[in-house]
Symmetry: C3
Subunit: 647 residues, 3 copies
Amino acid sequence: MLGVCYYPEHWPRERWAEDARRMRELGLTYVRIGEFAWSRLEPDPGCFTWAWLDEAIETLGQAGLKVVLGTPTATPPKWLIDQHPDILAVDQEGRVRGFGSRRHYSFSSRVYCEEARRIVTLLAQRYGQHPHVAGWQTDNEYGCHDTTRSYGPEDLRAFRLWLQARYGSIEALNRAWGNVFWSMEYRSFGEVDLPNQTVTEANPAHWLDFYRFSSEQVAAFNRMQVEILRAYSPERFIVHNFMGYTPDFDHFKLAQDLDIAGWDSYPLGFTDMDVLPCSEAEKVRYARTGHPDIAAFHHDLYRGVKPRWWVMEQQPGPVNWAHHNPAPAPGVVRMWTWEALAHGAEVVSYFRWRQFPQAQEQFHAGLNRPDFEPDVGFSEAARVAEELQSLSPLPPSGPAPVALVFDYEADWVYRIQPQGREFIYRDLVWVFYKALRALGLDVDFVPPGARLEPYRLVVVPSLPVVSEAALETFRHHQGVVVWGPRSGSKTEFLSIPPTLPPGRLQDLLPLRVTRVESTRPGLSEPVRWNGLEWPSGVWKEWVESDLPPQATFGDGKGALYRHQNHHYLAFWPGQDFLQSYLGALAKSLDLPLHPVPEGVRVRRRGDWVFAFNYSGQPQPAPAPTNARFLVGGPTLEAYNFCIWKAG
Amino acid sequence: MLGVCYYPEHWPRERWAEDARRMRELGLTYVRIGEFAWSRLEPDPGCFTWAWLDEAIETLGQAGLKVVLGTPTATPPKWLIDQHPDILAVDQEGRVRGFGSRRHYSFSSRVYCEEARRIVTLLAQRYGQHPHVAGWQTDNEYGCHDTTRSYGPEDLRAFRLWLQARYGSIEALNRAWGNVFWSMEYRSFGEVDLPNQTVTEANPAHWLDFYRFSSEQVAAFNRMQVEILRAYSPERFIVHNFMGYTPDFDHFKLAQDLDIAGWDSYPLGFTDMDVLPCSEAEKVRYARTGHPDIAAFHHDLYRGVKPRWWVMEQQPGPVNWAHHNPAPAPGVVRMWTWEALAHGAEVVSYFRWRQFPQAQEQFHAGLNRPDFEPDVGFSEAARVAEELQSLSPLPPSGPAPVALVFDYEADWVYRIQPQGREFIYRDLVWVFYKALRALGLDVDFVPPGARLEPYRLVVVPSLPVVSEAALETFRHHQGVVVWGPRSGSKTEFLSIPPTLPPGRLQDLLPLRVTRVESTRPGLSEPVRWNGLEWPSGVWKEWVESDLPPQATFGDGKGALYRHQNHHYLAFWPGQDFLQSYLGALAKSLDLPLHPVPEGVRVRRRGDWVFAFNYSGQPQPAPAPTNARFLVGGPTLEAYNFCIWKAG
Amino acid sequence: MLGVCYYPEHWPRERWAEDARRMRELGLTYVRIGEFAWSRLEPDPGCFTWAWLDEAIETLGQAGLKVVLGTPTATPPKWLIDQHPDILAVDQEGRVRGFGSRRHYSFSSRVYCEEARRIVTLLAQRYGQHPHVAGWQTDNEYGCHDTTRSYGPEDLRAFRLWLQARYGSIEALNRAWGNVFWSMEYRSFGEVDLPNQTVTEANPAHWLDFYRFSSEQVAAFNRMQVEILRAYSPERFIVHNFMGYTPDFDHFKLAQDLDIAGWDSYPLGFTDMDVLPCSEAEKVRYARTGHPDIAAFHHDLYRGVKPRWWVMEQQPGPVNWAHHNPAPAPGVVRMWTWEALAHGAEVVSYFRWRQFPQAQEQFHAGLNRPDFEPDVGFSEAARVAEELQSLSPLPPSGPAPVALVFDYEADWVYRIQPQGREFIYRDLVWVFYKALRALGLDVDFVPPGARLEPYRLVVVPSLPVVSEAALETFRHHQGVVVWGPRSGSKTEFLSIPPTLPPGRLQDLLPLRVTRVESTRPGLSEPVRWNGLEWPSGVWKEWVESDLPPQATFGDGKGALYRHQNHHYLAFWPGQDFLQSYLGALAKSLDLPLHPVPEGVRVRRRGDWVFAFNYSGQPQPAPAPTNARFLVGGPTLEAYNFCIWKAG
Ligand SMILES: [Zn+2]
Ligand SMILES: [Zn+2]
Ligand SMILES: [Zn+2]
């Protein structure tokens, strides 16, 4: 299904009915509204102007649209900030982050939690059972603009309480963090500071707990809203719109309180801005499409976050916020929409109905131009709507053949203590993902501890802290598991395990990592596997084990070990190696391989196989000769897709 | 005429008379003094020591020099700052910018305005009618060291008053800025903050008004001084010395209160530091001369700022403040001086008489060395003085054949909201200017709204906000006008015009820009014009129009349109294209083209044609075979110039 | 002799005895303890827990080890900071540098000086005459993490007092600094601010005095500790462990109060992080050994700081704090140890006994792994211990043939006022040093003013401020002296000398530098010497002199002058030129030249010649054919060394 984001408060009331009519004509089902409208709902403290929102919802509903109503907590009004300046967050350098844009609050502000509770309660009471309100969105893009962590007095206060709850006694905290080192011991929780602004780096265990605390604060803020909405608005779904790779809080955990995970898909800006890293050549080649794995990566991630998932904001044209903001190539908005559907999206909702000619996002295209004419994206959306009607229902999305274990905490651990400048969790996951996609394999992202039964192949790019619960799922798993470097290398409190890495994983992998090193770009060391030499770099481990190595470093030491169904990579792998190695494993496991030409990607949904062409030239569809095509045919046009039935 | 900057307070009184005598011997007319001397004039609050200045002026005057007396407001003394710390400016990060160098004040400090008024009044009363005082300089280099804008409480207070005066009601401001977006609405002017330190980017309309306000504060501060000087010092001229490209305030507007625009010419440092951008190869090639267009650009700009203009500070040797501070090649100080005269300078004044062996500028060369011997620049200045005597009077500078419409506000608009990282107004103007200069065309810089009658060719690199007044001058103009991209793309309040860009310019250009994009370096798209393909990048527009395109993009869409005498470029042009295109236009208009070899530039003054050789090799002068030379001859030596009479 | 750094407080008491036994077995003599243990010695204000330290010292001593006890002042405990937040330093941007790592104090905090005095006194009283305590280390790595200078109220207060003591009257200060410039004059010492946070650069004389003051504050803080230790702990030595190139305070002056100069040698991190600059190719080539001159440079520097010197911390494996942290190549820990001994180290002490699995340095290798097994460095140290036993005693280290005059103040002067971005004192010293080492010459670092008699060749890379005392040593020196550029270019108060540079040196060098320039990379000018052209860049001087130039610039002007035994380079020399020029001088002086292949270095100790192979391939030892080898032989293996007796 399709939807759109709409801001009735930006446009004259006289136009609302026509807008609604045209949305329906276009074939849209859902319309998201209200998420930045606090100053219009409560222009003065305690004075409410519900009438316009009543009318907007009614107008949209009358036209046949289902409303997703946003809570307006991402943008508290100025009068509230002036009354309570302690709502504002403080950055890592100690500067207050002021009013004048959005997300100007700390999740730990007690006043703000009360104010958010007040406005959400009023909205939920008023619209919770409204027949046209189908669901709710909480806030908007948690964590965007580096807003997960804040460093002010309210944050310090909440952090101390959180530590007290976690450790019980200050002695336990001192022991857990190793505070005997450098005389960092505390006598009470009231002595603990935030970890920023130290002379040199703070204790990484201190940082990790602060990251964990900050992540939980986001989840608690969201849960507070969810509980109100559940109470006053039964039988409505609750969604949040997450952003592209924003790992500062644990999305798996927050989403436990949601019904649907939404995410906001801007492939061009993400490619330009290295949301996932692209080479300069890729940035040029894919400037008008986005990197062919960048939207898919997030689709698969957010499907892991929640089985029901939406693209809540789909880029419909050029945007305003990247360093460079090119226009999508013709047809690409349609292709993006279909790719989301192929990956299992329940709804794709465009952002936004009409380009607003003022303020920060005036260069952000919509389906309609600011002169009220339809923009390029409009006609592409219309085509999708027609196609959807003729193709529905799509077969259900089953589990993929491969699971990728993704861990937010791993991102934090390596950001806090990379030990080598290029050891970035995001980049390691990205190289595993791209290798699997180049093999034409569908991928499910799962959190550590998730059920692994459906998967014959599980890859774990890296999992530094292995909980007992996570370990348990691996203990009984029969499928092949490929562990990346540094897995099991840390205890819960970020210390090196007493038996050395991989610590708890030594149950599965009888080996010990006795030494690690990070190296600079240019200092590559070949890994010998399968009779060939594969370049490696960034990270290398020395392993002691009775197992025979499956691959070796130049000095003959082991680089890759296997014990029963578990494989362990003692180095940072390159994409070429991974494609070969995982390809060989997949073949041996009889997984459905579909090697693709550059710029082409495939994805299955039930017995339908989709192929997408991100390149500017026609490409042969990677389909069997006798394939039955539902859309397109054996030649895949530039910026287009096709569907055939799996034989 | 020639002049020099002199600091009698730096040297023993016994030397003043000899210094003055040697200045006259050298052939100097003007001497600028006093602009940093506050602590010597008022060493304690209210205690004045005029005697030394009395004597200095008398000594210089007796020697036959005319004194330009500077108001000392660029350097308030420490005791004043300690009495009133709120004089100090605050930077964008919220840090107070302290005492200890110069320009340590905010233009919005009420106390400082009063103190400046006090000291200027006292000076004007004492020396206003002094026979040896020929004129006044206000302050020194407004805006230098990023001092136009300040972010402290005094600035906030003044900004709120300015907004109130501009908008009358807060509702009008909210509407103008589009504050309904992201709940940014205010209930009163007292709720408006400065636009810095927001969580993500502030409203660009908010920023633009803050830039406008800040620009006006500089002009108001200057006007306050001018009014005092006019009252107490009739018949003396008033000048300010502007810096190299410092667009933070509107020089055209400030200069309305002046008689003369001065500017400070440091071609080597400007080239090293990208005051106007130079490639690495240009920085090496022109390290000892400066880029051949960099001084000329400013001469032409400041001649546009005020018909009477001086080089108030001419680099006489190596300086101290650039990343690299090489020595000018032999002869270059003379060449710079003559180039300024060729462009119409009334006076060229060297900075400074003698290198001061202490403090921040101890590595800044003067005409004399710190050991009291003449430095290299001295002999070059002496040669200019002799040449001037034999060649005077120079013919008057008439209008150039080409006008370039330069707009300070355009710089602000694109700095605030570039929409593509490389869209920098300065760079766009620079590429237009260099193309015209390579064609050998003289250029007049004019502000929007200026009279255009004299010009057969007008180029407007970009003019985003077109005022009614500016539009009026174009409506009736008969000459050819070439509009660059994004012209007319914004309303006065920085929103997209209701009829889409070019908004008001649609009176002249019947077209609509329906989409724009910015692209990264490397993503170039050829523009086809005149049978050839020209690379373009940075910026591209989609145009709807019934006009036939004069040039097309690779996809066949129109890239350049012409309606009657108006041309519109829907892309960011490269220098090669501009040289071809403007060259063809100039030829069709019968303008005097003088294509020049690399490193050579020409400039006319009346019927004299000057040519300057910035290269290290002799070059043929671009003169007709039978040219009558006033200086030099058909071979232009390295770092030298020649003059011939136009046929 | 060998030693190790040990933290009994990190490990269970039950393990101490075994640790001590294994240390002795390994052949260690010294063990440094206690320098970060304040929170364990005084867990609550005034409550002391000496028992564990008593026991630790006893256990170590019983095993036959000599204890070096550190004062714990680098890490004051949290309760002390909370009682007295004014202990904390303030950074150049005005931000307080908080608790949570180490070195969190300002040397100018009065409270902290009292608290340090208190804890040091208690330690000295308790352990000063303990039979197992052989010596003391004061604090840890003064100046590390940019902690020499602080910008808070306590620093301002102390700076004003320091200025008052230095200048007596504010008029003298104003004159010395040239404060008449830009009205920077003060009326009292109470008006002087710190030089940070000015609008543009502060007076360089102001900065230089602040650098001098800050350097003296470190020395005073150390002296306070030394005086206590001398009083209560007679006949024990006192050492401090300096860091790699940390020139913010004058090590020569501070070390006057010490018996031994220690330094902490981390060749891999220093190479990765440009502690001395290395090219990208060198960083890759020497990633696992460190640059072959980087440890030697510091050995020679610290031998100059104090004739008795130790490597207090020797890198034993990968570390944690560089951008990249590779493992040393096999054998390199042994090679480093022997190189230190070859340069005259009295003790080499490994950091540290065992890798601590928690907190900031958990990735920092020790001789033992966190699982209590020996790590790679253990066996290399063991081998050194055996070799040492069989080779002892080593012949004494005599004076080197060449002295390099090293001046901390020179580093400050050029950092404060480089006048060209690439003019970095460290880099200039480094290029002189590398040239001498490539010639196989041993080098002694000496401060200005040191006795020069032993040296036939003295190089002075640059000495901007020449004191009367330093001048005196040169006046009577008979050996050849090579002066680098900018020597003598400044007075004590950082002004240009009245007779121009080289100022006071004009007694020795009858010449005047009339102009200087700095140039960008790429703008090289050849210097002609000895019939060849040598590239030069960065810096060039114009010299007036009756002396005939020994080398000339491209324009024929003099580049190198000689007067009697003094040579003056009027340009920034490249390494190739210096090797040729200094090589020719050394040959003429009959110094023992030993040109070495790339990656090999030599060093003499008495009549023993050591050669070290930093390359990965065997190299011929640069020994005479009939050399008698004490260790190794004519083929020098990779990462290995040999010793032969000089013929
Ligand atoms: Zn209804
Ligand atoms: Zn007179
Ligand atoms: Zn004992």
